[in-house]
């Protein structure tokens, strides 16, 4: 420390990560695109104030408003009931992104809990990993479809059709997609558990709960972050697949997947009704995947600073 003035300023880890992330041109473009899409669905409805479910009560007007081509009043046209497609796209995007995010949170919560328990407590390891293996061997798409069919009415009766479907989809996707996160976290915890700082914490009598919360969880954050990003993309796809197969949200509660499903009936006459939602799903998922890729590179200390 003799040459004090030449010392570099201390840098935080997240600043390093950001600097590395900016190197990844694809991820930066994806981040920009994703923010644009997020602004479209979050801020959009505040500017474009048309109710996505508004059907003109006057039948003559309603029939005149049906299936209109793009105009200044309706930039993307109207659908077969005279509803504004732009407003429906914004509203649908909100639901799709919300489903993706919440389902990812559910999956990451279950996965991290099981991964930490399995990695930290030797006795639980065998059982929990057997459980994980079993879930990995389940045919997930058929099971999801079965769950949607069998439980849709029951949940709708309890909390109403919209919230019921939302909760059911989010829980179903979360419960069937936590396994990779659990495996990654378990591997990390197994390695971290043998490190000196955990030994030090344990030797001064820190209880297991606090070791996990204070010392282990912050250190598994980076792989969990990457898994979470990729999880959003997977959840959005799964939700739209369910909607596409007609087992997702009801028609008055559109998501991008549902809009696409509704558009297929009229694909010959109005192909744009399939193109817009499909494009929105694809761009969202593509950008989220690219962001995940860039995050993985940025969070990997072996690559960082190269």
């Amino acid at each position: 420390m003799t040459d004090a003035p030449r010392l570099e300023k201390p840098r935080s880890q997240w600043r390093d990560v950001w600097v590395q992330f900016r190197q990844h041109r694809g991820a930066m473009a994806a981040l920009f695109l994703f923010l644009l899409l997020a602004a479209f669905v979050v801020v959009g409805p505040m500017i474009w104030r048309i109710d996505p479910n508004f059907i003109d009560p006057d039948p003559v007007k309603m029939i005149r408003l049906r299936n209109r081509p793009p105009s200044w009043d309706h930039p993307l046209g109207t659908d077969q009931l005279g509803r504004d497609i732009l407003a429906r796209m914004m509203f649908g995007g909100r639901i799709s992104l919300a489903v993706g995010t919440v389902a990812m949170l559910v999956a990451i919560f279950i996965g991290t809990t099981i991964g930490v328990l399995a990695g930290y407590f030797r006795r639980a390891d065998g059982l929990l990993m057997r459980l994980t293996d079993m879930f990995l061997a389940l045919p997930l798409l058929p099971l999801l479809l079965v769950m949607m069919m069998l439980f849709a009415e029951a949940t709708a009766a309890v909390v109403g059709p919209r919230l019921g479907t939302f909760l059911l989809i989010v829980l179903a996707i979360g419960v069937t997609s936590w396994m990779h996160a659990a495996r990654i976290v378990r591997g990390e915890v197994l390695a971290l558990k043998e490190r000196e700082f955990v030994l030090a914490a344990r030797s001064i009598g820190t209880p297991a709960r606090r070791i996990i919360l204070r010392h282990i969880l912050p250190n598994v954050l980076s792989p969990v972050l990457v898994a979470a990003t990729l999880g959003i993309a997977a959840a959005i796809i799964t939700e739209s697949v369910l909607s596409f197969l007609g087992l997702g949200f009801p028609p008055d509660f559109p998501t991008w997947g549902r809009l696409l499903y509704d558009g297929i009936d009229v694909i010959r006459t109005y192909p744009e009704r399939v193109i817009w939602p499909g494009l929105a799903i694809s761009l969202t998922v593509l950008s989220v995947n690219y962001i995940g890729d860039g995050l993985r590179d940025a969070l990997d200390p072996r690559i960082r600073g190269r």
Partner: protein
Amino acid sequence: MLTFTLRRLLTAIPTLLLISLVIFLLVDFAPGSPMSDIPLTVPPEVRQKMMAALGADQPVMVRYLLWLKQFFIVEPQYALDAAFGTNFADGAQRIISWQSKVPVFQLIGERLPQTLTVVGTAYLIGILVALPIGIYSAYRQYSWFDQAGTFFAMAGFSVPTFFTGNVLILIFAIKLGWFPTIYDTNLSVMDWDSFVKMIKQMALPVTVLALFNAAEISRYTRSSVLENLNQDYVRTARAKGMTERTVLLKHVMRNSLIPVVTVIALGMPTVFGGAIVTEQIFKINGIGAALIGAIHVSDLPTVQTITFIFAVLIVVFNLIADILYGILDPRIRYD
């Protein structure tokens, strides 16, 4: 190797049993079963008879064990009988679809060929496209070819198949009119004309599925080849004066394809899952369409059986992948 195989086989049995229990109970305990859909105007004794006719008045465990017995003992017996003209089954009760009152396995037997033709061809083409792309991407890392390959792969598993499928229908079937939009299941290949017709109707679904598969496999191939390119034996081979061609195609490829082979085996069941969506887009009358149809009318035996067949496929292909890995890479064997 034999003990390794045997041990893997033995661990697969409890997994399968557990999965079958999970699937059976999930479907059975769900509130939306057809038992609850019998109208209230039906008198109780008739309702009793209806339940008894469907076998639904037995306790859950009895029905589960009966279903297991039918799945693992009775149905293979019928298969043997049909193949060799024997009489093992002796008229035992089979798993009957509630919707069409025919044995579920007969239904599956009718649907499976369509699925296998489309899915099999698509997987094969996907692999054939993915391997060269993956290998060349790794060999020329960060070149424009690699960048394009990365983008192609990213797009391949980001763009959902139901969108690519519909875009292809829109362009090639509706606008250009080159291919039919609907898959004709009754078409049998007899001569050149029907063969051309078959190729035409398979072109779009196969393209959609192949694109999706190729994206994933090419990524795995690329990373596996990349890992091997930095190994010492590659430097040795080059130092011996071997041509790049021999180094890449003989030395590197043999080693780097080992994990790819297992990924290909592991991916098989997922492909069947993806075929559910593709069959829906192109109206292919395959096993996925049968599942969706059965789900919409709450045909529980069919749903349980097809779902469990998917589970069996996953477990079997996991087993195949493990054993293949053991055969191809002697370092992996645990014995």
